[in-house]
C-alpha cells in the first residue's frame, strides 16, 4: 500500500496552487459579487492543461491518473468553487461523454479542443420534471431518415457551462422512440451552440457559484445532422450513469478543497482573533471544531483517492464514488458552516472568503446526484428493499 502522491503529482499540486493563488484568489470575490464568468482565466486553466489531465495524449491530454485530476480540483476549489465547478463540469460532464462514447470523428471535432481548454461542452440531463428521476426525460429527438436530421424539442434545467462565450455544444438526453407506446428509448444528441431553434435562457440567479455559468436551455424544432447522435441509440441512461460515477468522485474532490480552505482559514483566525484576553482558539468549542474539520478532511481525501484508484484499476466504482460524494460534500457543508461560526460576525461579511464558501457549498449536496440519491445507491448496494 502506498499513501504517497508521486513527486510529480506533488510538484503539480504546487504549480496549481501557485496558479490558483495568483490568478484566481485575488479576483474571486469580485467575480462572485458581479456574477462574472472569467473567460480569460478559464482559458489560462486550459493552457495549464487542466482540462486535459485525464484524457489520452493522442487527443492532446496528459494521460494522468484520476487522482491527479482530483489534486487539481482540490487546489482550485481551495480558492474558488465557481472556477472548480467550471473545470469539473468542463471535464467530467462536457468532455467525458465524447471520450467514452464519441466516434473518432466526434473525438477529433469536440474532444480535442475541449482537452486543450479552448472550448467547453455542457451536459444536459436535468429537466424541470426530471432531476433525480432523470429517466423521466421529456425532451424528444426524432430522426428524419430522408433528410438525415434530428429534430429536438423540449427543455433542460440548470445546465452548467451552457452559455459561456467559449461553449461549443451541449449533449442532451432525449427520447428517440419512433413509436410512443413502448418503454422510452433515451439517447444522447450533440447540439452545437448557436444552432437555430436552440435558445439559451438568461442566467439563473443563484445562492452561490456566482462565477459559474448556469442556464435553462430550450429546444424548439431544433435540427441537427443525423451524425450528432453520441453513442448507441438507447444508450443514454447507461452512459450518463457512468459519466456521473466519475463526476461524483470529482465533485467530492472539489469538496475536499473547500474543507482544506476552511480548515486553514479557521485555524489561522482562531490563533489570531482575541476575545476575553486571549486567542479564541483556546476555547475548546472553537478548537474542537477545527479538530473535527481536520478529521473530516482526512476521511474525505482518503475516500476520493481510494475511489480514484479503483477507477484507474478498472474496478467497479459506483459504491466508492457514492460514498466519497456523500461524505465529502456533507463534510464540506459542515466545514463552511463551522468556519463562518469561528469567524463570528466577520464570517457573515462578503469580505471574508468563508462567507462565499458557505453560500457555495450547499449545492455540492445536490448536484450530480443528491445526498439522498447517494444513500439510495448505497442502500441498494447493501441489498435493502429500499424505495
Amino acid at each position: 500500500m502506498d499513501f504517497e502522491l508521486s513527486d510529480e503529482q506533488q510538484q503539480f499540486r504546487g504549480v496549481v496552487r501557485e496558479f490558483a493563488e495568483a490568478e484566481i484568489a485575488p479576483n474571486a470575490q469580485v467575480w462572485d459579487r458581479d456574477h462574472t464568468f472569467p473567460v480569460e482565466t478559464v482559458l489560462a486553466m486550459g493552457r495549464l492543461g487542466l482540462f486535459g489531465l485525464v484524457f489520452p495524449t493522442e487527443y492532446g491530454g496528459a494521460s494522468a491518473d484520476f487522482a491527479t485530476y482530483c489534486v487539481a480540483l482540490e487546489e482550485i476549489a481551495r480558492v474558488d468553487s465557481s472556477m472548480a465547478i467550471t473545470l469539473e463540469a468542463g471535464v467530467s460532464l462536457g468532455a467525458a461523454p465524447f471520450f467514452y462514447d464519441g466516434t473518432e470523428a466526434q473525438k477529433q471535432e469536440y474532444l480535442v479542443p475541449m482537452v486543450a481548454g479552448e472550448v467547453l461542452g455542457a451536459f444536459g440531463l436535468t429537466e424541470a420534471d426530471a432531476g433525480s428521476d432523470a429517466g423521466n426525460t421529456r425532451t424528444t429527438a426524432n430522426l428524419d431518415h430522408s433528410r438525415e436530421k434530428w429534430t429536438v424539442n423540449g427543455q433542460k434545467t440548470f445546465i452548467t457551462n451552457s452559455g459561456t462565450p467559449i461553449t461549443k455544444c451541449v449533449t442532451v438526453t432525449a427520447r428517440t422512440n419512433s413509436d410512443t407506446t413502448g418503454p422510452p428509448e433515451i439517447s444522447t444528441i450533440v447540439i452545437d451552440s448557436g444552432t437555430e431553434g436552440f435558445t439559451v435562457m438568461p442566467a439563473y440567479r443563484k445562492m452561490g457559484w456566482h462565477a459559474s455559468d448556469t442556464h435553462e436551455l430550450v429546444f424548439d424544432n431544433c435540427e441537427v445532422p443525423a451524425d450528432h447522435l453520441l453513442g448507441e441509440p438507447g444508450g443514454g441512461l447507461k452512459s450518463f450513469l457512468r459519466i456521473l460515477d466519475d463526476g461524483r468522485i470529482a465533485i467530492a474532490a472539489l469538496a475536499v478543497g473547500v474543507i482544506q480552505a476552511c480548515l486553514e482559514q479557521s485555524v489561522e483566525h482562531a490563533k489570531g482573533r482575541n476575545a476575553f484576553g486571549g486567542p479564541i482558539g483556546r476555547y475548546q468549542s472553537i478548537a474542537f471544531k477545527c479538530s473535527d474539520m481536520a478529521v473530516s478532511l482526512e476521511n474525505a481525501r482518503n475516500l476520493i483517492y481510494k475511489a480514484a484508484w479503483l477507477r484507474d484499476k478498472g474496478r467497479p466504482i459506483r459504491r466508492a464514488a457514492a460514498m466519497a460524494k456523500l461524505y465529502a460534500t456533507e463534510a464540506a457543508v459542515r466545514a463552511t458552516s463551522d468556519a463562518v461560526q469561528i469567524f463570528g460576525g466577520y464570517g457573515f461579511m462578503d469580505d471574508t472568503p468563508v462567507s462565499r464558501y458557505y453560500r457555495d457549498a450547499k449545492i455540492l449536496e445536490i448536484g450530480e446526484g443528491t445526498s439522498e440519491i447517494q444513500r439510495l445507491v448505497l442502500a441498494r448496494d447493501l441489498g435493502l428493499p429500499v424505495e
Binding site: 510529480e8 504549480v15 501557485e18 495549464l48 492543461g49 496528459a62 494522468a64
Partner: protein, 258 residues
C-alpha cells in the same frame, strides 16, 4: 537557434534562511528555481520558438546534486541541463561561479545566446553574467527588458532610470534579463512528467578542468562578517496644527530632496 540559460537553484525564500558557521547560507533543504531565472527560461523558450528551431539548455552550479529547480525549468519546456555539482565547488565565489558556468557553456558547445538574470534572489551580487561574458570573450548586454533576435544580431532594450537604451551586438552574446521581461508560463502536468526523463549532465570540477581554481581554495572573496542591518531610526512627526505642510516642505528642503 540554441539558447543556454543560467539557472540558479536557491533555498525557498518563503522559509526563513539560516546561516552556517562559515557565513554561507544553509542549503540543506530542497532548493527551488530562482524566480529571477524563470524569466530567462521563458524568454529562451519564446526566442527558440520564434526562430522556428533549436533548443534551450539549462546550466546550474548547485550543491548536493540538486535538480529540483532544474526540473521546474525542464517542465516549462527546456530540453536538457548541465548540472555542476561536486564537493570541490563548496565555497566558490562569484568569479568562481562564472568560471564554472563559462566551462559549462563551452561544454554545451553550440550556444548562440546565453541568458541570465540581472541578479540572483539570494546572492544578488549582480556580477556573474558579465564575468561569464568576459571569460568567454563574448559581448555582454545587461538589464534587458526586451530581447529581439534577427539575422545574427541581438537587440535589447536596456532599462535605465530615464527610460531605456537600445543596445545591439553580434551573436553569440550573454544577455542578462530583468524580472518581467516576459510572463513565465506555469509548467503543465505533461511538462512535469516529460521533465522526468530529460537528460541532466552532471559534471564535476575535474570534468570542467577547474580543479583547484574553484571552491574555498580558488575563492578570492571571503565573507568576513555577517551583521544585522541597523534598525531604522525613528522619524520626525509633525502634528497638523495648520502649519504641517510648511514644516514638511522645510524639512524636505533641508534634506535637499526638493
Amino acid at each position: 537557434m540554441n539558447v543556454v540559460v543560467c539557472v540558479k537553484q536557491i533555498p525557498d525564500p518563503s522559509v526563513p534562511g539560516q546561516l552556517e558557521a562559515d557565513h554561507t547560507l544553509d542549503r540543506s533543504a530542497k532548493p527551488i528555481l530562482d524566480e529571477s531565472d524563470s524569466f530567462g527560461v521563458e524568454m529562451a523558450l519564446q526566442l527558440v520558438d520564434a526562430a522556428g528551431g533549436g533548443e534551450v539548455t539549462l546550466i546550474s552550479l548547485a550543491p548536493n546534486g540538486e535538480v529540483s529547480g532544474l526540473r521546474t525549468a525542464l517542465a516549462m519546456g527546456a530540453a536538457k541541463a548541465v548540472l555542476a555539482s561536486d564537493d570541490a565547488f563548496a565555497g566558490t565565489d562569484a568569479l568562481g561561479t562564472a568560471k564554472v558556468l563559462a566551462k559549462c557553456i563551452e561544454r554545451v558547445g553550440d550556444a548562440d545566446l546565453v541568458l541570465a538574470a540581472t541578479e540572483s534572489s539570494d546572492g544578488y551580487t549582480g556580477t556573474v553574467p558579465v564575468q561569464v561574458a568576459e571569460l568567454l570573450g563574448w559581448p555582454a548586454l545587461t538589464f534587458a527588458k526586451k530581447v529581439d533576435i534577427a539575422d545574427g544580431v541581438v537587440t535589447i532594450q536596456r532599462q535605465t532610470e530615464a527610460g531605456y537604451d537600445v543596445v545591439q551586438s553580434s551573436l553569440p552574446a550573454v544577455v542578462s534579463v530583468t524580472a518581467g521581461v516576459v510572463e513565465p508560463r506555469y509548467p503543465s502536468f505533461k511538462g512535469i512528467m516529460a521533465a522526468k526523463s530529460k537528460p541532466v549532465d552532471n559534471v564535476t570540477a575535474a570534468d570542467l578542468g577547474l580543479d583547484g581554481q574553484v571552491g574555498w581554495a580558488g575563492a578570492r572573496q571571503s565573507i568576513v562578517k555577517v551583521e544585522q542591518a541597523p534598525a531604522r531610526l525613528a522619524g520626525e512627526k509633525f502634528e497638523d496644527d495648520g502649519t504641517a505642510a510648511e514644516k514638511i516642505v522645510a524639512f524636505l528642503e533641508d534634506l535637499k530632496v526638493i
